[in-house]
Protein backbone atom coordinates (compact mmCIF):
# COMPACT_ATOMS: atom_id res chain seq x y z
CA UNK A 1 0.00 0.00 0.00
CA UNK A 2 1.25 3.48 -0.86
CA UNK A 3 2.37 5.65 2.05
CA UNK A 4 -0.30 8.22 1.25
CA UNK A 5 -2.99 5.56 1.39
CA UNK A 6 -1.66 4.39 4.76
CA UNK A 7 -1.74 7.94 6.05
CA UNK A 8 -5.33 8.29 4.95
CA UNK A 9 -6.25 4.96 6.49
CA UNK A 10 -4.74 6.03 9.81
CA UNK A 11 -6.50 9.37 9.77
CA UNK A 12 -9.83 7.74 9.06
CA UNK A 13 -9.08 5.23 11.79
CA UNK A 14 -8.53 8.11 14.22
CA UNK A 15 -11.75 9.74 13.06
CA UNK A 16 -13.83 6.61 13.55
CA UNK A 17 -14.75 6.53 9.88
CA UNK A 18 -13.67 2.97 9.05
CA UNK A 19 -15.82 -0.11 8.74
CA UNK A 20 -14.95 -3.32 10.57
CA UNK A 21 -12.88 -4.71 7.74
CA UNK A 22 -10.88 -1.50 7.41
CA UNK A 23 -10.38 -1.31 11.17
CA UNK A 24 -8.93 -4.80 11.09
CA UNK A 25 -6.68 -3.71 8.23
CA UNK A 26 -5.50 -0.72 10.25
CA UNK A 27 -4.89 -2.83 13.35
CA UNK A 28 -2.88 -5.27 11.29
CA UNK A 29 -0.85 -2.38 9.94
CA UNK A 30 -0.08 -1.20 13.47
CA UNK A 31 1.07 -4.69 14.40
CA UNK A 32 3.40 -4.74 11.43
CA UNK A 33 4.48 -1.12 11.85
CA UNK A 34 4.21 -0.19 15.54
CA UNK A 35 5.99 3.08 14.85
CA UNK A 36 2.86 4.31 13.09
CA UNK A 37 0.87 4.18 16.32
CA UNK A 38 2.52 7.49 17.13
CA UNK A 39 0.55 9.00 14.27
CA UNK A 40 -2.68 8.07 16.02
CA UNK A 41 -1.52 9.80 19.17
CA UNK A 42 -0.44 12.85 17.20
CA UNK A 43 -3.73 13.12 15.31
CA UNK A 44 -5.79 12.85 18.46
CA UNK A 45 -3.76 15.50 20.21
CA UNK A 46 -4.03 17.80 17.21
CA UNK A 47 -7.80 17.42 17.11
CA UNK A 48 -8.07 18.17 20.84
CA UNK A 49 -5.91 21.26 20.46
CA UNK A 50 -7.97 22.51 17.52
CA UNK A 51 -11.12 22.14 19.58
CA UNK A 52 -9.56 23.81 22.61
CA UNK A 53 -8.15 26.73 20.64
CA UNK A 54 -11.38 27.50 18.81
CA UNK A 55 -13.59 27.11 21.86
CA UNK A 56 -11.29 29.28 23.94
CA UNK A 57 -11.56 31.97 21.30
CA UNK A 58 -15.35 31.78 21.09
CA UNK A 59 -16.67 29.83 24.08
CA UNK A 60 -20.36 30.63 23.75
CA UNK A 61 -23.00 32.76 22.13
CA UNK A 62 -23.35 36.26 23.57
CA UNK A 63 -25.52 36.61 26.62
CA UNK A 64 -29.02 37.49 25.59
CA UNK A 65 -28.91 35.98 22.12
CA UNK A 66 -30.91 32.94 23.18
CA UNK A 67 -33.52 35.20 24.79
CA UNK A 68 -33.66 37.35 21.68
CA UNK A 69 -34.20 34.31 19.51
CA UNK A 70 -36.81 32.97 21.90
CA UNK A 71 -38.64 36.27 21.65
CA UNK A 72 -38.50 36.13 17.85
CA UNK A 73 -39.73 32.56 17.83
CA UNK A 74 -42.60 33.55 20.07
CA UNK A 75 -43.76 36.04 17.46
CA UNK A 76 -44.47 33.20 15.13
CA UNK A 77 -47.64 31.27 15.09
CA UNK A 78 -47.73 27.51 14.95
CA UNK A 79 -47.58 27.46 11.17
CA UNK A 80 -44.40 29.45 11.26
CA UNK A 81 -45.62 32.49 9.38
CA UNK A 82 -43.90 35.66 10.43
CA UNK A 83 -46.13 38.18 12.08
CA UNK A 84 -44.82 41.64 11.47
CA UNK A 85 -46.08 45.03 12.50
CA UNK A 86 -47.29 45.83 9.02
CA UNK A 87 -49.18 42.61 8.67
CA UNK A 88 -52.00 43.41 11.05
CA UNK A 89 -54.78 42.25 8.82
CA UNK A 90 -55.91 38.76 9.61
CA UNK A 91 -57.06 36.32 7.04
CA UNK A 92 -59.61 33.71 7.70
CA UNK A 93 -58.62 30.46 6.12
CA UNK A 94 -61.16 27.74 5.82
CA UNK A 95 -59.61 24.51 4.72
CA UNK A 96 -61.39 22.97 1.81
CA UNK A 97 -63.10 19.86 2.96
CA UNK A 98 -62.49 16.79 0.88
CA UNK A 99 -64.88 13.94 0.79
CA UNK A 100 -63.40 10.69 -0.40
CA UNK A 101 -65.91 8.03 0.35
CA UNK A 102 -66.08 4.69 -1.40
CA UNK A 103 -68.53 5.78 -4.08
CA UNK A 104 -68.44 4.49 -7.64
CA UNK A 105 -66.88 7.62 -9.06
CA UNK A 106 -63.90 7.42 -6.73
CA UNK A 107 -63.34 3.74 -7.38
CA UNK A 108 -63.34 4.49 -11.07
CA UNK A 109 -60.88 7.32 -10.57
CA UNK A 110 -58.48 5.09 -8.62
CA UNK A 111 -58.65 2.39 -11.27
CA UNK A 112 -58.00 4.92 -14.01
CA UNK A 113 -55.03 6.36 -12.14
CA UNK A 114 -53.53 2.92 -11.64
CA UNK A 115 -53.93 2.15 -15.32
CA UNK A 116 -52.23 5.40 -16.24
CA UNK A 117 -49.25 4.70 -13.97
CA UNK A 118 -48.87 1.14 -15.23
CA UNK A 119 -49.15 2.37 -18.80
CA UNK A 120 -46.59 5.07 -18.19
CA UNK A 121 -44.11 2.54 -16.88
CA UNK A 122 -44.77 0.00 -19.63
CA UNK A 123 -44.61 2.43 -22.50
CA UNK A 124 -41.79 4.54 -21.21
CA UNK A 125 -43.70 7.80 -20.82
CA UNK A 126 -41.26 8.74 -18.12
CA UNK A 127 -38.36 8.26 -20.49
CA UNK A 128 -35.10 6.48 -19.96
CA UNK A 129 -33.99 6.29 -16.37
CA UNK A 130 -30.96 8.32 -15.47
CA UNK A 131 -27.82 6.41 -16.22
CA UNK A 132 -26.84 4.79 -12.94
CA UNK A 133 -23.19 5.21 -13.80
CA UNK A 134 -23.56 8.93 -13.23
CA UNK A 135 -25.18 8.66 -9.85
CA UNK A 136 -22.02 7.95 -7.94
CA UNK A 137 -21.93 4.19 -7.84
CA UNK A 138 -18.18 4.42 -7.98
CA UNK A 139 -15.69 6.98 -6.83
CA UNK A 140 -14.45 7.43 -10.37
CA UNK A 141 -17.97 8.10 -11.64
CA UNK A 142 -18.47 10.63 -8.87
CA UNK A 143 -15.18 12.30 -9.72
CA UNK A 144 -16.08 12.35 -13.41
CA UNK A 145 -19.40 13.99 -12.66
CA UNK A 146 -17.63 16.65 -10.66
CA UNK A 147 -15.34 17.27 -13.63
CA UNK A 148 -18.35 17.60 -15.89
CA UNK A 149 -19.99 20.14 -13.62
CA UNK A 150 -16.82 22.20 -13.41
CA UNK A 151 -16.48 22.21 -17.18
CA UNK A 152 -19.99 23.60 -17.49
CA UNK A 153 -19.28 26.24 -14.86
CA UNK A 154 -16.20 27.48 -16.66
CA UNK A 155 -17.68 27.22 -20.15
CA UNK A 156 -20.71 29.22 -19.03
CA UNK A 157 -18.51 31.83 -17.31
CA UNK A 158 -19.80 31.01 -13.86
CA UNK A 159 -16.15 30.45 -13.05
CA UNK A 160 -14.16 32.83 -15.23
CA UNK A 161 -10.62 32.04 -16.28
CA UNK A 162 -7.87 34.55 -16.73
CA UNK A 163 -6.10 34.87 -20.02
CA UNK A 164 -2.96 32.89 -20.50
CA UNK A 165 0.19 34.47 -19.19
CA UNK A 166 3.18 34.18 -21.49
CA UNK A 167 5.91 33.73 -18.96
CA UNK A 168 7.82 30.49 -19.31
CA UNK A 169 8.04 27.48 -17.14
CA UNK A 170 9.96 28.09 -13.93
CA UNK A 171 11.11 24.50 -13.80
CA UNK A 172 13.02 24.28 -17.04
CA UNK A 173 13.14 27.90 -18.27
CA UNK A 174 11.41 27.15 -21.53
CA UNK A 175 9.65 30.14 -23.02
CA UNK A 176 5.94 30.61 -23.61
CA UNK A 177 4.92 27.03 -24.15
CA UNK A 178 5.59 25.31 -20.90
CA UNK A 179 7.27 21.95 -20.95
CA UNK A 180 5.60 20.95 -17.76
CA UNK A 181 3.31 22.06 -15.03
CA UNK A 182 4.28 21.52 -11.47
CA UNK A 183 1.67 20.09 -9.16
CA UNK A 184 3.27 19.71 -5.79
CA UNK A 185 6.27 17.57 -6.47
CA UNK A 186 4.82 16.14 -9.66
CA UNK A 187 5.75 17.37 -13.09
CA UNK A 188 2.85 17.20 -15.46
CA UNK A 189 3.73 17.05 -19.14
CA UNK A 190 2.83 19.93 -21.38
CA UNK A 191 -0.60 19.72 -22.89
CA UNK A 192 -0.70 21.48 -26.21
CA UNK A 193 -3.89 21.16 -28.21
CA UNK A 194 -3.14 23.71 -30.94
CA UNK A 195 -2.69 20.91 -33.44
CA UNK A 196 -6.31 19.98 -32.93
CA UNK A 197 -7.54 23.56 -32.98
CA UNK A 198 -7.66 24.54 -29.31
CA UNK A 199 -5.66 27.17 -27.44
CA UNK A 200 -4.89 27.15 -23.74
CA UNK A 201 -6.86 29.78 -21.85
CA UNK A 202 -5.86 29.19 -18.26
CA UNK A 203 -5.90 26.86 -15.34
CA UNK A 204 -6.93 26.66 -11.76
CA UNK A 205 -6.60 24.44 -8.79
CA UNK A 206 -9.77 22.49 -8.41
CA UNK A 207 -11.29 19.82 -6.28
CA UNK A 208 -12.08 16.44 -7.67
CA UNK A 209 -13.67 14.10 -5.15
CA UNK A 210 -11.36 11.44 -3.74
CA UNK A 211 -8.30 13.19 -5.12
CA UNK A 212 -5.75 15.07 -3.08
CA UNK A 213 -4.63 17.47 -5.77
CA UNK A 214 -6.05 18.34 -9.11
CA UNK A 215 -5.83 21.10 -11.65
CA UNK A 216 -8.30 22.18 -14.26
CA UNK A 217 -6.80 23.28 -17.55
CA UNK A 218 -9.15 25.02 -19.93
CA UNK A 219 -8.85 25.32 -23.71
CA UNK A 220 -10.91 27.26 -26.24
CA UNK A 221 -11.40 26.45 -29.86
CA UNK A 222 -9.29 28.79 -31.99
CA UNK A 223 -11.88 29.02 -34.72
CA UNK A 224 -15.13 28.29 -33.03
CA UNK A 225 -16.90 28.31 -29.70
CA UNK A 226 -16.06 24.90 -28.37
CA UNK A 227 -14.25 24.28 -25.11
CA UNK A 228 -12.14 21.49 -23.70
CA UNK A 229 -11.48 20.85 -20.04
CA UNK A 230 -8.58 18.71 -18.96
CA UNK A 231 -8.51 17.80 -15.30
CA UNK A 232 -5.11 16.62 -14.22
CA UNK A 233 -5.56 14.51 -11.16
CA UNK A 234 -2.97 13.21 -8.80
CA UNK A 235 -4.87 10.84 -6.65
CA UNK A 236 -3.97 8.35 -4.02
CA UNK A 237 -4.67 5.27 -5.98
CA UNK A 238 -8.31 5.21 -4.88
CA UNK A 239 -9.78 6.16 -8.23
CA UNK A 240 -10.32 3.08 -10.29
CA UNK A 241 -10.94 4.09 -13.86
CA UNK A 242 -11.82 0.51 -14.71
CA UNK A 243 -15.26 1.38 -13.40
CA UNK A 244 -15.85 3.31 -16.59
CA UNK A 245 -16.91 1.98 -19.95
CA UNK A 246 -13.94 1.20 -22.21
CA UNK A 247 -13.61 3.95 -24.80
CA UNK A 248 -13.23 2.31 -28.13
CA UNK A 249 -10.80 4.36 -30.11
CA UNK A 250 -7.37 4.31 -31.68
CA UNK A 251 -5.86 6.37 -28.89
CA UNK A 252 -2.56 5.06 -27.53
CA UNK A 253 -3.64 4.41 -23.97
CA UNK A 254 -6.44 2.46 -22.43
CA UNK A 255 -9.24 4.96 -22.00
CA UNK A 256 -12.59 4.92 -20.26
CA UNK A 257 -15.78 6.87 -20.59
CA UNK A 258 -18.06 7.96 -17.78
CA UNK A 259 -21.55 8.91 -18.81
CA UNK A 260 -23.01 11.97 -17.22
CA UNK A 261 -26.42 12.81 -15.97
CA UNK A 262 -27.94 14.47 -19.01
CA UNK A 263 -29.89 16.86 -16.84
CA UNK A 264 -26.59 18.33 -15.72
CA UNK A 265 -24.62 18.32 -18.90
CA UNK A 266 -26.89 18.95 -21.85
CA UNK A 267 -25.41 17.58 -24.99
CA UNK A 268 -22.07 16.76 -23.38
CA UNK A 269 -22.77 13.34 -22.13
CA UNK A 270 -19.45 11.93 -21.06
CA UNK A 271 -16.09 12.45 -19.45
CA UNK A 272 -13.23 10.48 -20.91
CA UNK A 273 -10.44 9.42 -18.58
CA UNK A 274 -7.11 7.68 -18.74
CA UNK A 275 -4.00 7.31 -16.66
CA UNK A 276 -0.30 7.66 -17.33
CA UNK A 277 0.53 5.73 -14.20
CA UNK A 278 1.01 8.46 -11.62
CA UNK A 279 -1.45 10.97 -12.92
CA UNK A 280 -4.96 10.60 -14.23
CA UNK A 281 -6.46 12.77 -16.90
CA UNK A 282 -10.19 13.46 -17.11
CA UNK A 283 -11.27 15.22 -20.26
CA UNK A 284 -14.50 16.80 -21.33
CA UNK A 285 -15.17 18.38 -24.70
CA UNK A 286 -18.04 20.60 -25.76
CA UNK A 287 -17.77 19.30 -29.30
CA UNK A 288 -18.18 15.59 -28.84
CA UNK A 289 -16.81 14.78 -32.28
CA UNK A 290 -13.50 16.36 -31.25
CA UNK A 291 -13.09 14.10 -28.26
CA UNK A 292 -11.03 11.39 -29.89
CA UNK A 293 -8.64 13.84 -31.56
CA UNK A 294 -8.19 15.74 -28.31
CA UNK A 295 -7.55 12.56 -26.32
CA UNK A 296 -5.11 11.31 -28.93
CA UNK A 297 -3.27 14.63 -28.89
CA UNK A 298 -2.93 14.60 -25.11
CA UNK A 299 -1.80 11.00 -25.03
CA UNK A 300 0.68 11.48 -27.83
CA UNK A 301 2.23 14.46 -26.08
CA UNK A 302 2.55 12.41 -22.90
CA UNK A 303 4.28 9.64 -24.81
CA UNK A 304 6.63 12.19 -26.38
CA UNK A 305 7.47 13.58 -22.95
CA UNK A 306 8.28 10.14 -21.64
CA UNK A 307 10.80 9.47 -24.39
Amino acid sequence: MKRSSINNLIRQYCDGELNDEQIAQAEQHFQDHPEDRAIVEYERKLRKRIEAVVKADCPSAPAGLADKINAELAKHDVSGDIETETETQTYAYTPKSWSFGPNKANVFAIAASLLLVVGAVLFGIFGRPIDSRSTGISQAAEAAESVGREHINVASNKTPLEEMNTKGCTSCNSILSACCIQIGTSKIPEINLTSVGYEFKGGMECEVPYCESSYHLFFRQIKGRGYVSVHIVKDEGTLNLDDGVPYESKTPRKTYRFFMNKEIVHGRPSVVAFSDGEVKYMVMTCIVSDTERVIASIQTSIVDQER
Binding site: I50, V54, A61, A66
Partner: protein, 182 residues
Protein backbone atom coordinates in the same frame (compact mmCIF):
# COMPACT_ATOMS: atom_id res chain seq x y z
CA UNK B 1 -41.64 17.34 16.09
CA UNK B 2 -43.57 19.48 18.51
CA UNK B 3 -42.68 23.13 18.54
CA UNK B 4 -41.66 23.18 22.20
CA UNK B 5 -39.50 20.13 21.71
CA UNK B 6 -37.90 21.65 18.63
CA UNK B 7 -37.13 24.92 20.39
CA UNK B 8 -35.61 23.15 23.35
CA UNK B 9 -33.46 20.88 21.21
CA UNK B 10 -32.38 23.60 18.81
CA UNK B 11 -31.47 26.18 21.40
CA UNK B 12 -29.25 23.69 23.20
CA UNK B 13 -26.86 24.08 20.28
CA UNK B 14 -26.82 27.84 20.10
CA UNK B 15 -23.17 28.04 21.18
CA UNK B 16 -22.05 25.72 18.40
CA UNK B 17 -24.15 27.49 15.81
CA UNK B 18 -22.88 30.89 16.93
CA UNK B 19 -19.28 29.67 16.88
CA UNK B 20 -19.65 28.48 13.32
CA UNK B 21 -21.41 31.72 12.36
CA UNK B 22 -18.46 33.65 13.74
CA UNK B 23 -16.13 31.60 11.60
CA UNK B 24 -18.20 32.46 8.56
CA UNK B 25 -18.82 36.17 9.03
CA UNK B 26 -16.03 37.14 11.47
CA UNK B 27 -18.15 39.77 13.21
CA UNK B 28 -20.14 39.32 16.43
CA UNK B 29 -23.20 41.34 15.38
CA UNK B 30 -23.40 39.74 11.97
CA UNK B 31 -22.94 36.35 13.56
CA UNK B 32 -25.83 37.03 15.93
CA UNK B 33 -28.05 38.09 13.03
CA UNK B 34 -27.10 35.01 11.09
CA UNK B 35 -27.85 32.74 14.03
CA UNK B 36 -31.20 34.39 14.54
CA UNK B 37 -32.05 33.97 10.87
CA UNK B 38 -30.97 30.34 11.08
CA UNK B 39 -33.29 29.61 13.99
CA UNK B 40 -36.25 31.32 12.39
CA UNK B 41 -35.76 29.35 9.21
CA UNK B 42 -35.31 26.19 11.21
CA UNK B 43 -38.56 26.80 13.01
CA UNK B 44 -40.40 27.28 9.73
CA UNK B 45 -38.97 24.03 8.46
CA UNK B 46 -39.15 22.14 11.73
CA UNK B 47 -41.96 19.91 10.53
CA UNK B 48 -39.70 18.65 7.79
CA UNK B 49 -36.85 17.80 10.12
CA UNK B 50 -36.17 14.10 10.33
CA UNK B 51 -33.78 12.53 12.76
CA UNK B 52 -31.09 10.54 10.97
CA UNK B 53 -28.98 9.68 13.97
CA UNK B 54 -26.85 12.81 14.13
CA UNK B 55 -29.37 14.89 16.05
CA UNK B 56 -30.55 18.34 15.11
CA UNK B 57 -27.13 19.99 15.06
CA UNK B 58 -26.01 19.04 11.52
CA UNK B 59 -29.38 20.20 10.25
CA UNK B 60 -28.94 23.57 11.97
CA UNK B 61 -25.45 23.89 10.48
CA UNK B 62 -26.85 23.23 7.03
CA UNK B 63 -29.44 25.96 7.44
CA UNK B 64 -26.73 28.26 8.77
CA UNK B 65 -24.53 27.62 5.76
CA UNK B 66 -27.38 28.06 3.33
CA UNK B 67 -28.34 31.32 5.00
CA UNK B 68 -24.78 32.54 4.86
CA UNK B 69 -24.32 31.67 1.21
CA UNK B 70 -27.63 33.30 0.42
CA UNK B 71 -26.43 36.52 2.02
CA UNK B 72 -23.17 36.69 0.22
CA UNK B 73 -22.46 34.85 -2.98
CA UNK B 74 -20.09 32.09 -2.31
CA UNK B 75 -16.66 33.32 -3.23
CA UNK B 76 -15.74 31.63 -6.44
CA UNK B 77 -12.36 30.06 -6.68
CA UNK B 78 -10.33 32.45 -8.70
CA UNK B 79 -8.36 30.99 -11.54
CA UNK B 80 -4.67 31.55 -11.60
CA UNK B 81 -2.49 32.46 -14.52
CA UNK B 82 -0.13 30.03 -16.13
CA UNK B 83 2.71 31.89 -14.47
CA UNK B 84 1.26 31.26 -11.05
CA UNK B 85 0.37 27.74 -11.99
CA UNK B 86 3.94 26.91 -12.88
CA UNK B 87 5.34 28.58 -9.85
CA UNK B 88 2.70 27.23 -7.55
CA UNK B 89 3.94 25.26 -4.64
CA UNK B 90 1.00 23.36 -3.34
CA UNK B 91 0.23 24.40 0.20
CA UNK B 92 -0.56 20.94 1.38
CA UNK B 93 1.73 18.06 2.06
CA UNK B 94 1.90 15.78 -0.91
CA UNK B 95 0.12 12.48 -0.50
CA UNK B 96 3.21 10.41 -0.68
CA UNK B 97 5.22 12.52 1.67
CA UNK B 98 4.69 11.79 5.32
CA UNK B 99 3.16 14.77 7.06
CA UNK B 100 6.14 16.46 8.73
CA UNK B 101 4.60 16.98 12.15
CA UNK B 102 3.91 13.31 12.47
CA UNK B 103 7.53 13.00 13.42
CA UNK B 104 6.95 15.43 16.26
CA UNK B 105 5.66 13.09 18.91
CA UNK B 106 7.63 15.08 21.41
CA UNK B 107 6.04 18.38 20.39
CA UNK B 108 5.26 20.50 23.40
CA UNK B 109 1.53 20.88 22.93
CA UNK B 110 1.20 23.53 25.62
CA UNK B 111 2.96 26.07 23.44
CA UNK B 112 1.36 25.52 20.09
CA UNK B 113 -2.05 27.12 20.54
CA UNK B 114 -1.24 30.47 18.99
CA UNK B 115 0.37 28.80 16.00
CA UNK B 116 -2.61 26.49 15.55
CA UNK B 117 -4.96 29.45 15.78
CA UNK B 118 -2.98 31.37 13.18
CA UNK B 119 -2.80 28.34 10.93
CA UNK B 120 -6.57 27.86 11.12
CA UNK B 121 -7.13 31.52 10.32
CA UNK B 122 -4.83 31.20 7.35
CA UNK B 123 -6.70 28.30 5.82
CA UNK B 124 -8.84 28.76 2.78
CA UNK B 125 -12.46 29.17 3.95
CA UNK B 126 -13.61 25.86 2.51
CA UNK B 127 -10.81 24.03 4.34
CA UNK B 128 -11.40 25.93 7.56
CA UNK B 129 -15.10 25.16 7.61
CA UNK B 130 -14.54 21.46 7.15
CA UNK B 131 -11.76 21.40 9.72
CA UNK B 132 -13.94 23.11 12.32
CA UNK B 133 -17.02 21.00 11.68
CA UNK B 134 -14.81 17.95 12.11
CA UNK B 135 -12.44 19.07 14.84
CA UNK B 136 -14.59 21.33 16.98
CA UNK B 137 -18.12 20.12 16.37
CA UNK B 138 -17.19 16.48 16.01
CA UNK B 139 -19.26 15.80 12.92
CA UNK B 140 -18.78 12.78 10.69
CA UNK B 141 -17.57 13.10 7.11
CA UNK B 142 -21.04 12.22 5.82
CA UNK B 143 -22.68 14.92 7.94
CA UNK B 144 -20.19 17.55 6.79
CA UNK B 145 -20.74 16.52 3.17
CA UNK B 146 -24.47 17.07 3.60
CA UNK B 147 -23.94 20.46 5.19
CA UNK B 148 -21.54 21.60 2.48
CA UNK B 149 -23.53 19.90 -0.27
CA UNK B 150 -20.44 18.33 -1.81
CA UNK B 151 -19.42 14.70 -2.25
CA UNK B 152 -17.91 12.99 0.77
CA UNK B 153 -14.69 12.52 -1.19
CA UNK B 154 -14.32 16.28 -1.46
CA UNK B 155 -14.73 16.59 2.29
CA UNK B 156 -12.06 13.94 2.85
CA UNK B 157 -9.71 15.76 0.49
CA UNK B 158 -10.33 19.14 2.11
CA UNK B 159 -9.83 17.73 5.58
CA UNK B 160 -6.67 15.96 4.51
CA UNK B 161 -5.26 19.19 3.11
CA UNK B 162 -6.27 21.25 6.11
CA UNK B 163 -4.61 18.81 8.50
CA UNK B 164 -1.50 18.64 6.37
CA UNK B 165 -1.22 22.43 6.36
CA UNK B 166 -1.52 22.50 10.14
CA UNK B 167 1.06 19.74 10.40
CA UNK B 168 3.48 21.75 8.29
CA UNK B 169 2.89 24.83 10.42
CA UNK B 170 3.55 22.88 13.61
CA UNK B 171 6.72 21.43 12.16
CA UNK B 172 7.93 24.92 11.29
CA UNK B 173 6.97 26.14 14.74
CA UNK B 174 8.94 23.38 16.43
CA UNK B 175 11.93 24.10 14.25
CA UNK B 176 11.82 27.83 14.91
CA UNK B 177 11.32 27.65 18.64
CA UNK B 178 12.74 24.31 19.65
CA UNK B 179 9.48 23.69 21.45
CA UNK B 180 9.66 19.98 21.93
CA UNK B 181 9.20 18.28 25.25
CA UNK B 182 12.03 15.82 24.88
Amino acid sequence: MQREEFEKLALEHIDSVYRMAMQLVKHPDEASDLVQETYLKALRASERFEEHGGGIRPWLFKILHNSFYTRVSKAKRQPISVDELHGAVDESARPDEPAPAWNLNSLDWEHVDERIKAAIEGLRPEYRTVLLLWGVEGLKYREIAEIEAVPIGTIMSRLHRARSILAEQLAEFAEETGHTSS
